[in-house]
């Protein structure tokens, strides 16, 4: 193992004991970028190497633990493209709140990572600048939409990364790339400076090599922000020492998320995970969430509806790409027609339709009612269980191009992650096995503000299993 393969907390320890210098650590990541980036393409924009190196401070370990930021989060002075032609020339004029928080701790941003355009997708294939590849098998997708962030962490092109999660966009790529991803409770991490996709569902969260790193990074980014009206007035949640004792924890296995449609090899990994939990003293029982099967249609009405409204701001007037047009209305329509890619257009059309006169009640209002039913299912389940578990994805990482022609099929693969955003609750994905050298993710779900329990259960599992130590070998690329 090289330094770039180690977790952030291990590297902090080495730096503090003076067993590794900050410069060595940072160079280890930069070397990985040089070596692997041409194959994996995790980044849309990399900072100048010299600039990264001059930002390293001897007594500031975080300055050596290079961090990658999904390219829908604003970093002042850097391009923020959302992997879209419409923002291809946009330079962020201010920092997102999470970036301000990182800056206070002297974090060192190495670059902006690839995503599905405006975070709409599950494979990072919807990027206007080309796909990212899965480091475990370059023929396969890294998941999405935070595919660049997850791939970059998996191959040590950075120590850790930030992603955003609207329907699974942190957890599913974490699962596909064999790393750890947290979708925090809605309202605990500021969305100020995150380019909005579906405002009632979006949350920023950490993608890391293990659970300890995840808790560490989450501790830094959460907390109230007056600039985000949906940010909760809570004291920042800090995690210093994780407990791995899960004796007596009550775990519910969501029956509907282990039905047909779930790959049998993934089911086997989940069953093995259940045995591990039992051997650690947790009790595991099956639980039914009767409305969870309606999550996909509910989500694919609500998220596009919110997106069609949020993306109205991209009109070629104040920023971004502008197409020609004799009058302003034509200029706007042409700008949007030429600037947005196929999936974004599809969702704007869908969202506009379900909000339009005559269809609002049949689709949008109906979906809001189902959102209530789905959230209530979780509330009932949490009366009997501390956490719930499911696969993070019903399928293994798929091949590039395999699902691009059938949007509905791609949407259906989000079944395990979408309900969590609808309910506004937190969930973490951790590696729980490998099938043919492809990683499988376990999703652990808790009630609102239960991040402490999630980290504890995830850490208990992680410490009892070897999967978090695996690193992709990148087909022997040297």
């Amino acid at each position: 193992m090289e330094l770039a393969d180690l977790t952030a907390h291990k590297l902090i320890e080495l730096i503090e004991k003076r067993e590794a210098s900050p410069l060595e650590v940072a160079h280890s990541f930069l070397n990985r970028i040089e070596k692997y980036e041409p194959k994996v393409k995790a980044y849309l924009n990399l900072k100048d190497k010299e600039e990264v190196i001059t930002s390293i401070r001897d007594n500031e370990p975080y300055s050596a633990l290079l961090i990658a930021i999904k390219d829908n989060i604003l970093v002042k002075g850097l391009h923020t493209t959302c992997a879209s032609k419409i923002l291809s020339n946009f330079i962020a004029p201010y920092n997102a709140t999470v970036i301000e928080k990182l800056n206070l701790q002297n974090f060192n941003i190495v670059g902006k990572t690839n995503l599905d355009e405006f975070a709409m997708g599950s494979s990072t294939e919807n990027s206007a600048f080309g796909p990212t590849r899965n480091p475990w098998d370059l023929e396969r997708v890294p998941g999405g939409s935070s595919g660049g962030s997850a791939a970059s962490v998996a191959i040590g092109e950075c120590a850790w990364a930030l992603g955003s999660d609207t329907g699974g966009s942190i957890r599913q790529p974490a699962s596909f790339c064999g790393v750890v991803g947290l979708k925090p409770t809605y309202g605990t991490v500021s969305r100020y400076g995150l380019v909005a996709f579906a405002s009632s569902l979006d949350q920023i969260g950490p993608i890391t090599k293990d659970v300890t790193d995840n808790a560490l990074l989450y501790s830094i980014i959460n907390g109230h922000d007056p600039n985000d009206s949906t940010s909760l007035k809570l004291e920042p949640h800090k995690f210093t020492h994780l407990s791995q004792d899960i004796k007596g924890i009550k775990i519910g296995v969501i029956r509907e998320l282990l039905g047909e449609g779930v790959d049998s090899t993934i089911k086997k990994c989940i069953n093995d995970a259940i045995e591990t939990f039992e051997s650690l003293g947790a009790t595991v029982d099956e639980v039914s969430l009767p409305h969870i099967d309606y999550s996909v249609p509910t989500y694919y009405i609500l998220a596009p509806a919110e997106a069609s409204s949020n993306l109205a701001r991209f009109d070629g007037v104040r920023y971004g790409f502008r197409a020609l047009g004799k009058i302003t209305e034509d200029m706007m329509s042409n700008t949007r027609g030429e600037g947005f890619g196929p999936e974004v257009k599809r969702r704007i059309m869908l969202g506009t339709y379900v909000l339009s006169a005559g269809y609002y009640e049949a689709f949008y209002l109906k979906a809001l009612k189902f959102r209530n039913l789905i959230a209530s299912d979780f509330n009932s389940a949490f009366k009997n269980f501390d956490v719930l578990i499911s696969p993070t994805s019903p399928i293994l990482p798929f091949k590039l191009g395999e699902k691009t022609e059938n949007p509905l099929e791609m949407y259906l693969s989000d079944i395990c992650t979408i309900p969590i955003n609808l309910a506004g609750i937190p969930a973490i994905s951790i590696p729980c096995g490998f099938v043919d050298n492809l990683p499988v993710g376990l999703q652990i779900i808790g009630p609102a503000f239960s991040e402490a329990t999630l980290f504890r259960v995830a850490y208990g599992f992680e410490q009892a299993t070897p999967f978090h130590n695996n690193r992709p070998n990148m087909g022997g690329i040297e």
Partner: protein, 97 residues
Amino acid sequence: MLSIEEVTHIERLARLKLSDQERERYRKQLSDVLDYAARLNAIDTSNVPPMYHVLPVTNVLREDIPNDNFSQGEALTNAPIQENGFFVIPPILGGEE
């Protein structure tokens, strides 16, 4: 199945210029998704209140105090076309010859 007229109507509402090919493709794909969404009709929800947001927050107000976040110049740096401190756009009216 959505009609081409319906697709053109949404296109206009969304200010989103599509090509003939795109119109035909989205007609089919949107119809597939909407057909799938129709399974929500399987359950009577007339007594279920809609959930607009998971948080119990409504309006969040603050004092209206000016700050110095951006200069006019900074706010205009990303403008496609600007002149004398203004965003420049084509005429609002006209176009129909």
